[in-house]
Symmetry: D2
Subunit: 325 residues, 4 copies
Amino acid sequence: MKYPFDETKKYDVIAVGRACIDLNAVEYNRPMEETMTFSKYVGGSPANIAIGTAKLGLKVGFIGKIPDDQHGRFIEQYMREVGVDTTQMVTDQDGHKTGLAFTEIKSPEECSILMYRDQVADLYLEPNEINEAYLKKTKALVISGTALSQSPSREAILKSVQLARKHDVTIVFELDYRPYTWKSAEETAVYYQLVAEQANIVIGTRDEFDMLENRGNGENTATVVALFRHAPELIVIKHGVEGSFAYTKSGETFRGKAYMTKVLKTFGAGDSYASAFLYALIKGESIETALKFGSASASIVVSKHSSSEAMPTVLEIEDLIAAQV
Amino acid sequence: MKYPFDETKKYDVIAVGRACIDLNAVEYNRPMEETMTFSKYVGGSPANIAIGTAKLGLKVGFIGKIPDDQHGRFIEQYMREVGVDTTQMVTDQDGHKTGLAFTEIKSPEECSILMYRDQVADLYLEPNEINEAYLKKTKALVISGTALSQSPSREAILKSVQLARKHDVTIVFELDYRPYTWKSAEETAVYYQLVAEQANIVIGTRDEFDMLENRGNGENTATVVALFRHAPELIVIKHGVEGSFAYTKSGETFRGKAYMTKVLKTFGAGDSYASAFLYALIKGESIETALKFGSASASIVVSKHSSSEAMPTVLEIEDLIAAQV
Amino acid sequence: MKYPFDETKKYDVIAVGRACIDLNAVEYNRPMEETMTFSKYVGGSPANIAIGTAKLGLKVGFIGKIPDDQHGRFIEQYMREVGVDTTQMVTDQDGHKTGLAFTEIKSPEECSILMYRDQVADLYLEPNEINEAYLKKTKALVISGTALSQSPSREAILKSVQLARKHDVTIVFELDYRPYTWKSAEETAVYYQLVAEQANIVIGTRDEFDMLENRGNGENTATVVALFRHAPELIVIKHGVEGSFAYTKSGETFRGKAYMTKVLKTFGAGDSYASAFLYALIKGESIETALKFGSASASIVVSKHSSSEAMPTVLEIEDLIAAQV
Amino acid sequence: MKYPFDETKKYDVIAVGRACIDLNAVEYNRPMEETMTFSKYVGGSPANIAIGTAKLGLKVGFIGKIPDDQHGRFIEQYMREVGVDTTQMVTDQDGHKTGLAFTEIKSPEECSILMYRDQVADLYLEPNEINEAYLKKTKALVISGTALSQSPSREAILKSVQLARKHDVTIVFELDYRPYTWKSAEETAVYYQLVAEQANIVIGTRDEFDMLENRGNGENTATVVALFRHAPELIVIKHGVEGSFAYTKSGETFRGKAYMTKVLKTFGAGDSYASAFLYALIKGESIETALKFGSASASIVVSKHSSSEAMPTVLEIEDLIAAQV
């Protein structure tokens, strides 16, 4: 089964939300207290997806707010150079900084992130900075949940959803739940539900769907039944090493397996999954193939040092799929 | 034509949002600088509608947050005594105060309000303070736009809307636009549109519908066409002394005229309109009759000193309608 | 013993800080929940002292910030009409409101105040709104502790103190401690001590001096010994109905008794005390006489309905002193 | 001429204020956009002075607040290992982060810093976290101006000053002006003046003294005359490559020259100057010698990659002084 997109649109994917800086431990397999050097990469879920899909060959645009400083300029330049259209990246004029993520890699099983997310530029994107003429030109609009966590970014995203629906743009909601900046589980659930009900494709881990439903130990069938009463047509629920499930409104279920790899760290798995899954879907591949692409892409990224820079090519993905039939 | 309600529900109306204090000039027809004495009344659009519908004989409940002080206790007591169920009024524990509205009545044409709305208790209603078991027991849930202007009240209202839809409660959205506390016209439009699209009945002045659409000089036909693509079934647009229009999804239009009166001040007109309009609708009267009830009730309140205390009885309304056939 | 002032100065007293609105219960001897009408007066400790000293015949100026609304204009007008120079009252341009104090008079022993002090204009006085050329023209600068409770008013006061010391203006520090707006007892003590050490005359209740020392049950001798190491020359500690004590740096102690009266409420006692005490001191009376003036003035105000309007004349004070020798 | 200290005290120096993280460009002589790797060091003026004086052999303590994260633990560990007593470093419990300074070294003349200073832990030091019993045990208390820029750190510093004066601890005020976090030049001047008037030794650049006086192009003589009316006994004004001047209350003036070096970057010059100047003074050297120590130490640090790690030993300083007689 395939998922149809409007082929007349100029862009394949426009992602909206945060673009930040990752500072990855150069010396790893140790606590961060003992890490003395950090490498700089572009990070943030929607930026990673924009970079990932651009590297796979899609036509990609990005809407977001970056600071007027060296980090902001680095982000814009890097994304532009990998092929992302950055004409809709707005420069913050109020002194907000880019978010930072210092990664700590004690072992493949023990990774953590030290986050700087106070007053970050990406959460200051304003609704009037969303360009309707631009947004309507894409097949898919990728929204990440974190952009809903604070005003005015929250309203910019809600407006993007209203415009996307008005212009029949496929809304892809990548739940991307991060506890920081949200005030409460109740607040998270209100906005996750609001946007999920209006999205066409919803992607997340089982834990993230539990946040959406504001409960623990949710069950996939109940989740998809509730969401299929509204706009969603395709729902992907990821269960880590047990693989992922895709549900369609017409009643089909597909299961994708996880690919084996030598794990260096767990960061970046979700973004590389979403990139390759979307790539396959937009290229007209079946949902089964898209699930394979997503899983293989995730496997490749977790074996490497960065999240954005490590985004694989189509060939790398196809090779891994072929090698682990 | 009549509007159907679920007759098995325990309450006719539950209003959610702010309940405040009006301080009305005792000496009027002068600038407030020369007013030396003020009378205290309960105020705030949803509180006024709860009081107005209760005085008309409906079964009414109220959900809101009041301060833990003398003003808060006065509000709860007053509403309880006119027959509103106040068991869901939550007492704020964080030192927030009730909003205040000092009214200035220079002349019937020149009225203004001096507002105290910083850190007011009503805007601190939390989503987890919305009781699903209670909310589902009403025919109609009345939401006022001002409650959307700030978090966490905003999320409490969005959650109320989600619960009302889940339990087939008719959502009545009284736009009730007040500039204070909103950050921008863009922000207002995002939330007004979001809730209006999910409401069953939307009531507002032409100016308020312009806020919803974030434009000037909107036109009724375009407004109702856009909203009827979503949940709304009945839309009432008020044009002041030129009367009001009711539009139904099935394509009918009804016009209500304004009743003549000796105007003392303009405050309270909208709330008394909504109260009597809803009363008639819930009592099974036709939309034409409901429009008459709304207009007549508004006429009565603008001729009196307060907004809440002045809410008319059914007999007063019927007398005025009969007198100005 | 007399306290010397610089007789070449144009003003006797300039007070700096808050000018607010008191809303006094018209129906009293009951809980505020049952009070339905409120009378409007100018209030706030430094405004009351400006009004009180002006009514006693001194040349008085006021520095403070008022809102650009009906309450702000009323305050300026009222103070101007009782003779206070209001040319240094700045109008707030950022939408801040005037503080409000709703008084509850259950009985002479049970009085309380319901305060509105969020984002009030008086606490937004900026240091660059202090006019050095104006400030240096007064014999005495009256500072009230509450103005130290928040920035930028705090910095405006600290700058006033620096300018007053530079120009040999006598600094009168009326502790006027109010719990609201202060974040902690530690914070209060830091600024109270800082300003008290630089003031020439310090006036407060025993409880207020305990706040300054951040302890309970302080003892007058220890208090004055510690402060006399710094700038203070005259310290007045009030003990309610037990009377008040004045201590001089040269080692003298004076005791003033309280005057009997029919108490209506307790509000306004401190401000009327300070007004009449300062009046006597500036007029060249002895400290003993000043203590009598202060106590008599306080007795008169607590027997009346307002704090500002009720400020007595010299004749009233002298009559009471004569009647209770 | 020598400056006397109380030789009975346990510590030579206690510094209070910020301890942060410097992230220094590994690849330099280029814009930061092109720097891909950063080295981590402890930074922040008072932390640098604590480290600098400890490395010179003084007995040093530090009072400050660090986050409960990997960066916080690194800071504490590093300072402890170079010999600073860290028992008074408080761990923040409210999620505040450590400040960050990304350094950009385009050329020795073009250095800039990208600062992360929103909600940083060091500015949340509370007055009740200042331990009187500890603070009174030092010869000198080093205060840096930045700690005055925000509450509650501001009040913690003001309280430290009050306690230091009470216990005859020499207060060294290093102006250390940084524009971020201060709201206005007026606000800065109010607090700089307040603390400078109570300090015994004041050290800063000419520009920083201009901030204190809230003017441009100030002149040293006027500056020292004004401050010597209050507590200060020794004032050091630095004029960059033109050298520095030390003024004593007794009327002497000393001039120190700058030492030649191969400059890599300008960061850290002030902190290394203060460290070595204080070291010499406390060791009983003359003011002339202390000026040499300060200048030589600054020269050494600007020729190296970090600020803290690069702090020189006594031998290195003496060698440079000997080499450039």
